[in-house]
């Protein structure tokens, strides 16, 4: 396992176009959305630290944009990084799928699509998990549901 500085150095060499932050726990990697798919392939298949285990895939709604967050670990070296891509278009958010790289992403992406409405291009089976097609996207910050969500006075 490398320490954080080494890891950041390694990532900087590998992805010169990426913004790399130290983060308060793990190294954080910001990738532009259009470069994400090829970056993911390199992350998975590079020889020195193959990040082959996608722990978690989720999204955060920052009201102006979505940030899709990937937590990756290398099972051989146990290095851990956080990769983020911003999806600027809030009306029709789209990003490339990584389900062909990490299979587990297929289902995490479906969940994110269900809850945030982010479309994953080239996803094999992008259907909603929990809700019907026109139910809205509940984890967006501007989601309103007067019937089921009771706002408690706090």
């Amino acid at each position: 396992m490398k320490n954080k500085e080494e890891l950041i150095g390694f990532l900087t060499r590998l992805f010169p176009y990426a913004t790399i932050q130290e983060g308060n726990q793990y190294a954080e990697l910001f990738i532009p959305a259009d470069k994400w798919h090829e970056t993911a392939q390199i992350l998975k298949s590079n020889d020195s630290i193959p990040f082959d285990y996608l722990i978690s895939l989720t999204a955060v709604d920052y009201l102006t944009k979505f940030t899709v967050v990937y937590h990756l670990e290398s099972t051989s070296t146990h290095d851990f990084i956080v990769v983020k891509t911003d999806v600027e278009n809030r009306e029709d958010p789209q990003i490339d799928t990584v389900s062909d790289i990490w299979i587990t992403a297929e289902f995490h992406e479906r969940e994110v699509y269900d809850l945030f409405g982010i479309r994953f291009n080239h996803h094999p089976d992008l259907r909603r998990f929990f809700m019907e097609e026109d139910d809205g996207y509940p984890l967006r910050k501007d989601f309103k549901d007067e019937i089921n969500i009771i706002e408690l006075p706090n």
């Binding site: 983060g23 308060n24 726990q25 793990y26 954080e28 998975k44 082959d52 285990y53 996608l54 722990i55 978690s56 989720t58 955060v60 709604d61 967050v69 937590h71 670990e73 099972t75 146990h78 851990f80 956080v82 062909d100 790289i101 990490w102 299979i103 587990t104 297929e106 289902f107 995490h108 969940e111 809850l115 094999p124 089976d125 998990f129 929990f130 809700m131 509940p138 984890l139 969500i149 706002e151 408690l152 706090n154």
Partner: protein, 375 residues
């Protein structure tokens, strides 16, 4: 390599003989619906449909304080409630830079292992029952009862004890806690050989599980199958070893790994994990130092702006808690990476080509808890 692993492709045809296993079916252990396409006794493909008990815990947590989130995490994987609590607590403690007292760390480890034992008891019971050995259900439940009695004495509840709070424990454990834990360890050491005679060595059981649902290590990694299910394929994913928390770095214990990756090796991993948990308990229970049961905390916890990720090992695999804080007393976004969510979707790959009875054996060996999938 990845092309070979992706066997998740499903081709539907009009004349498929579809059997819906679930939402109410004895072997899915909850409201999980498996759309199974059969060809005679053989499974062609299988599509899991989830979301029958989706409660929106992540959305609810966005309007709860960090203390209030704890009791929601209980209700995800209700069998490893303690570990779920601990994940949020550790995330908050790490974010605030709080050092919890040693006593808390040790008690948390004991509770972790007791919860793991109770969870594996239930899994063993249900797995036996899935395969038709109904007596195992009662033997497992009988021994689980002893653990639950310890819980009830100390925390007042048996299953959903929101016993952790950020900074420590809700209150101190019962004075008899250590004594009763030791008694349980001694009791269960005597009962474990019975499990072996009744199920592990049984020839019918061997026939039902050996070579069934073989998951190579690459598949486990690709699907993110963690916990005992992943370790049954040789995927060294024990968070207690990879990213130790609490006092797990001070305790010596084995990470159980089996290479075969079939249902039987997943079974063996859990059986040996039970033994290992007993070892840990035996080792730790006398070392609990005296002291406070909680660190000094402000009444209102506000995390500094930033993002936090905490991994813990629950009874079913790796639970990740991802908190995005904007400096307020509520999390801006909280995400639970639940182990069962990832573990479920490998089912199609494993069950394809097997018999419908194998599907039950595989489903049981993955040890799915449905509320954890839906959250």
């Amino acid at each position: 390599m990845s092309e070979e692993i992706i066997k998740n492709i499903i081709v539907r045809e009009d004349e498929d003989y579809i059997v819906n296993m679930g939402p109410q079916h004895p072997s899915t252990h909850g409201v999980l619906r498996l759309e199974v396409c059969l060809h005679g006794e053989f499974v062609n493909y299988l599509i899991p449909h989830i979301g029958y008990i989706h409660r929106g815990i992540e959305k609810m947590s966005e309007s709860d304080t960090y203390k209030q989130i704890i009791h929601l995490t209980d209700r995800m994987d209700y069998l490893s409630a303690h570990m779920n609590n601990e994940a949020v607590c550790l995330a908050v403690e790490n974010a605030l830079g709080i050092e919890v007292p040693e006593r808390v760390k040790y008690i948390r480890v004991i509770l972790d292992e007791l919860t793991r034992l109770a969870s594996h008891h239930l899994w063993w019971s249900a797995f036996g029952m899935d395969l038709g050995a109904l007596t195992t259900f009662f033997y497992g439940m009988r021994d689980r009862e002893k653990v639950l009695a310890i819980f009830e004495e100390s925390f007042g509840s048996r299953l959903l004890h929101s016993f952790n709070i950020p900074g420590g424990l809700m209150h101190d454990v019962h004075p008899n806690f250590q004594k009763h834990t030791m008694e349980f360890v001694r009791y269960f050491r005597k009962k474990l050989p019975e499990y072996k005679q009744l199920l592990t060595d049984n020839i019918i059981f061997h026939n039902r599980t050996k070579g069934i649902g073989i998951m190579p290590c690459e598949t486990a990694v690709a699907f993110g199958v963690t916990g005992p299910s992943g370790r049954g394929s040789g995927f060294a994913c024990d968070v207690r070893k990879v990213a130790p928390y609490g006092v797990y770095d001070k305790i010596e214990f084995k990470e159980i790994l089996h290479e075969e990756g079939d249902s039987f090796s997943r079974y063996l991993v859990r059986m040996e994990e039970m033994e290992e948990s007993l070892n840990i308990l035996e080792h730790v229970v006398d070392q609990v130092p005296e002291g406070d049961y909680t660190a000094r905390m402000k009444p209102i916890i506000k995390l500094p702006e930033g993002e936090y990720f905490q991994r813990v090992e629950t009874a079913r695999g790796e639970l990740g808690v991802y908190i995005v804080s904007d400096g307020k007393k509520y999390p801006y976004r909280i995400k639970f990476r639940s182990p069962n969510f990832s573990n479920l979707f490998v089912l199609n790959t494993l069950a394809k080509g097997g018999k419908i009875a194998d599907l039950v054996a595989i489903c049981g060996s993955l040890d799915l808890v449905i509320p954890d999938i839906d959250r």
